[in-house]
């Protein structure tokens, strides 16, 4: 077996709190991550584990690379994994919740919609809106996959005896007659700007939503997300890399409270 076949590639977020928390957690678990070469470089290694190559990537790029099998393990938000990888169970395994990066993917509508507080209200309003305005209600979001699934009545439900939820059909109210308008940034400003009727976006404290005069629907939480250690099922696994995976799994889980 060649040397490269026995290398485990670990993707870590390249900036922000997500990176800092990840580095802390690994150090805590006895696997300090150090950058290799240039200080602003995107490669790293773990002291004492020569068979691990660390790559610093953006959180969404990590989700793509997990799907493609270009990295073995990655740390990124559950929201990005579930959004990027439609058939999540086929491409990746969620290994461990890491206890940071908490945020909810929610449906938020204008506060002035006093008559709309639940998904069933949205479905109700949709038809009247279409007839009056001549176009479907527009949803601004970067979470198109999650939005479509949730509005089709699917829900993330934890099957008995399993640690992570899975999508299940016919679990919740259906919303139809809407169209998604893509949004890459400042999604929460879309309703006030008149470019969308409501949004699906991530929120941790709700401050941004409030500042933009939006409220979360009572049954409008699509996903309670946090940072996860995720394994790609598409990458090639050897005995050595499998052992390292187990090592990380055990040592990280022991440190997550």
């Amino acid at each position: 077996m060649t040397e490269t076949a026995d290398k485990l590639i670990l993707a870590i977020p390249s900036k922000g709190r997500l990176m800092a928390k990840t580095m802390d957690l690994f150090a805590d678990a006895g696997h300090a991550v150090v950058r290799v070469g240039h200080e602003r470089g995107y490669l790293g290694e773990i002291i004492g584990l020569p068979n691990v190559e660390v790559r610093f990537l953006s959180a969404s790029e990590i989700a793509y690379q997990l799907r493609a099998g270009l990295v073995h393990l990655g740390i990124t938000g559950e929201d990005l994994v579930r959004e990027t990888i439609v058939n999540t169970g086929k491409h990746v395994d969620f290994i461990a919740r890491l206890g940071f990066g908490h945020a909810d993917v929610v449906i938020a509508v204008p506060k002035c919609w006093l008559d709309v507080n639940a998904m069933s209200d949205l479905e109700d309003v949709g038809q009247a809106f279409y007839e009056k305005h001549g176009h479907r209600m527009r949803v601004a979001t970067k979470y198109t996959t999650l939005t479509r699934r949730f509005f089709a009545g699917h829900r993330l439900v934890k099957p008995p005896g399993q640690p992570h939820p899975q999508w299940q059909a016919e679990m919740g109210p259906v919303v139809s007659g809407y169209v998604i308008v893509g949004s890459v940034g400042a999604t929460e400003g879309a309703p006030a700007a008149g470019t969308a009727e409501f949004i699906v976006d991530i929120t941790s404290t709700g401050t941004t939503l409030t500042a933009n005069h939006l409220k979360v629907l009572d049954d409008g939480i699509i996903l309670k997300s946090e940072a996860m250690l995720v394994a790609s099922k598409m990458a090639r696994w050897s005995e050595t890399t499998q052992e390292i995976r187990t090592l990380f799994e055990d040592s990280l889980k022991a440190k997550v409270t």
Binding site: P110, L114, Q127, F151, S176, V179, G194
Partner: protein
Amino acid sequence: MLRLERLESQARSLMATFRKNGFLAIDPPIIQPADAFLNSVGEDLRIRTYVFSDPEGQELCLRPDITVPTSLHYLAEHQTDYATARYCYYGPAFRYQSADAGPEKPSEIWQAGIESFGIDDREKAETEIVKVTIEALQAAGLNEFRLRMGDIELFYALLDALEMPKRWRVRLKNSFWRPRSFQTLLAELADPSGKEPREPCGKQVPCLDLNAPKQAKETVGAFLDKKKIPMIGVRTLDEITQRLLEQAADQRESGLSSEVVAIINAYLQISGPPRAALARINDLKDSAGLKLGPALKACSRRINLFAKAGIDLRCSEFAGNFGRQLEYYSGFMFQIEPAATGHTPPPIAGGGRYDKLIETLGGTQHVPAVGCTIQAERLLQAIYGVEDE
């Protein structure tokens, strides 16, 4: 014979029958503007549509069906005169299927179809579509099949005749297409007390006087001001007020009567040979003392026209809940299934009336329209089976 050759000769046969009956062959583009589909059907279809953008950023799609492109063709040809037109087509349509869906559910579907626009005698136009479809299927070699049909307008007429607030009628009509939501809604309307009670007015919503609806808008506006909630978005204060009034009115309602619920469910369960089924609907109407207006007469007339046109009613069925999977139809709906026994086989052909589509696509006039699509691969399979692939 190779499958491809069979498919091609079948296509020639189908198109020959269509042309012989006066349908003009057209070839609408495979690449279509995405918004035409998305606005008429919405995100449900978009999930399965291949959407992409051109270098200038215009959103395009691979056509997920050929009815909308044909309607756009009609609009381009007849946007001033809205004359009568009959078109036929053959070509691929594209709908995403997940990799697990299996070979019997391809993402690229070959369709042959006919559409007629602007014919005011609706039952006559419907009869023509069904007759020509069956003739084409038979000429292509299909001997045994079943014709199943329904009529959404008849169901709407039933709801119109039943005692309930108008807004409930609208909600029930809109949810017909989603049986599970429909039953949930029906149960909720039958027993409003089962639903979690809304908070008393004053805190989250203003208290509105149902006897003075004209002042409601002012009350809602003042409530928003007091709470320092600005109006944002395109939905107006009028629309919000209107719905708050409806919600307040709902709280006073005692719910649908058990008789009304029973009549709706009885109607949805009726199915059988067309004349027998219509007779049962007639009985239901008489025993409940309802007036179904022209919708029931139209159904009877249509069946008589079918018989006159030589359509075999012995292998036909009319069902009250038929069509709950079909999109954008506004009246008569039908499908043709292989006569295979056992589980319900997927339909070979399906169609119906879609009178609202032309206006949705930007037409300035109401244009009656009816059509049918034949799934070429399914037809081939029904004739030859799946062997010697």
